[in-house]
């Protein structure tokens, strides 16, 4: 497989400068430090905005950091003063006016996702519940502590993933930009358990401070309606 990216920069004689300018470069988009082609692409995508609110075009967490990723992006507008601003995190990279395109290397530096554990202990009974991230888990007839941990980990949460090891469930945020810290202890307001007997679920944050992704690609439209085409080649 191969991906070829070619650019020509041209200007006629007595135009930008006295002599004609003609630069042409062609590159094979390869994996970091290798001669083999980048093997993945998002495909060519198109997004039309409806507000001037900034949004995340590409979340760095979804890609491996410090590779040879390349982003092609274009402002498809034909109205000269229509633009959008492209940012890497909160760093303004530049303004892209109607018709402008860019090919940008992208580090995709990942953040550190928030994580915490819940340790289930003592005796959990039928109909005891645990509520988190909008999901309620109720223990059924297999009334054991380990069964509760398995049920909790098997559920699908909107903003977290969960894994189980014995009676301990580890929750990890799906997005490092979610920096909400979970209240720790046996009576957490964030992870709410209700038991009829003496069952407990003790919350503890996993060591290490979560860090928001500092390399997301963000777009701020200069006007409400803006159409952006983009394609990421990545490994």
């Amino acid at each position: 497989m191969a991906i070829t990216a070619s650019i020509t920069l041209t200007s006629g004689a007595n135009d930008l400068v006295t002599d004609a300018l003609a630069l042409a470069t062609s590159s094979s988009l390869s994996k970091a430090g290798a001669t083999t082609a980048l093997s993945n692409t998002t495909g060519l995508a198109r997004k039309t905005t409806t507000t001037t609110d900034q949004f995340i075009l590409l979340n760095a967490d979804n890609f491996t950091a410090d590779k040879a990723h390349k982003l092609y992006i274009k402002n498809t507008s034909t109205v000269a003063d229509q633009f959008f601003t492209i940012h890497i995190d909160d760093e303004k990279l530049g303004l892209m006016y109607a018709g402008d395109w860019a090919l940008i290397p992208w580090a995709a530096t990942n953040g550190v996702k928030a994580a915490f554990t819940v340790t289930f202990a003592a005796t959990w009974a039928t109909a005891d519940t645990a509520v988190f991230d909008g999901v309620t888990i109720a223990l059924g007839s297999t009334a054991t502590t380990a069964a509760m941990a398995i049920l909790v980990a098997a559920a699908r949460y909107p903003n977290f993933t969960a894994t189980v090891n014995g009676s301990v469930v580890t929750f990890t945020a799906k997005d490092s930009n979610d920096l909400s810290l979970i209240e720790e202890g046996a009576a957490s307001d964030d992870y709410v358990i209700t038991t009829n007997g003496n069952g407990t679920g003790t919350v503890a944050r996993v060591a290490g401070t979560p860090v928001a992704s500092a390399n997301d690609i963000k777009i701020t439209p200069g006007q409400a309606v803006n159409t952006i085409e983009y394609m990421l080649f990545y490994e």
């Binding site: 497989m1 980048l38 940008i104």
Partner: protein, 140 residues
């Protein structure tokens, strides 16, 4: 009007169907079709490892303009790379043979475009198309 054209072609057999994307733009001053970017700098540099260098200094005159920068890493060893940095923010890596073309907004005077070389001495070629640059007054 100064007319400079930047054209790109991306083609690949990565997908089961053919991939071919083209883009062509005339480098205009911000928000107009009547006046093209009319200033340019270009160069070729050898970048040794171990230090982060300013390749292009930001100037307040460049804030919110439509400036464009082209950089090509001419190193023939594909393990060599430079990291592109703007105002301490890592943008990405350009390996030997790679090129980039991006808009550059000089958000403030610290918004310099910097390079750090890795593995060995990288050779880069670059062009900046811009408007509104005033030369610095002689200091000595």
């Amino acid at each position: 009007m100064a007319t400079t054209t930047a054209a790109v072609t991306l083609s690949s057999d990565l997908l089961s169907g053919s991939l071919s994307v083209t883009g062509t733009t005339t480098l205009m001053k911000a928000g107009t079709t009547a006046d093209g970017l009319n200033q340019m700098r270009m160069g070729r540099n050898e970048i040794p490892t171990g230090t982060s260098f300013d390749l292009l200094d930001a100037t307040a005159a460049g804030i919110d303009k439509a400036n464009k920068v082209y950089i090509s890493n001419e190193s023939t060893d594909t393990s060599y790379y430079v990291i592109i940095i703007i105002d301490a923010k890592v943008i990405g890596r350009l390996y030997g043979g790679d090129w980039m073309f991006l808009p550059w907004n000089m958000d403030d005077a610290t918004h310099d475009l910097e390079l750090t070389s890795y593995v060995g001495t990288n050779t880069i070629e670059w062009v900046k198309f811009h408007e509104n640059e005033t030369l610095t007054t002689q200091g000595d």
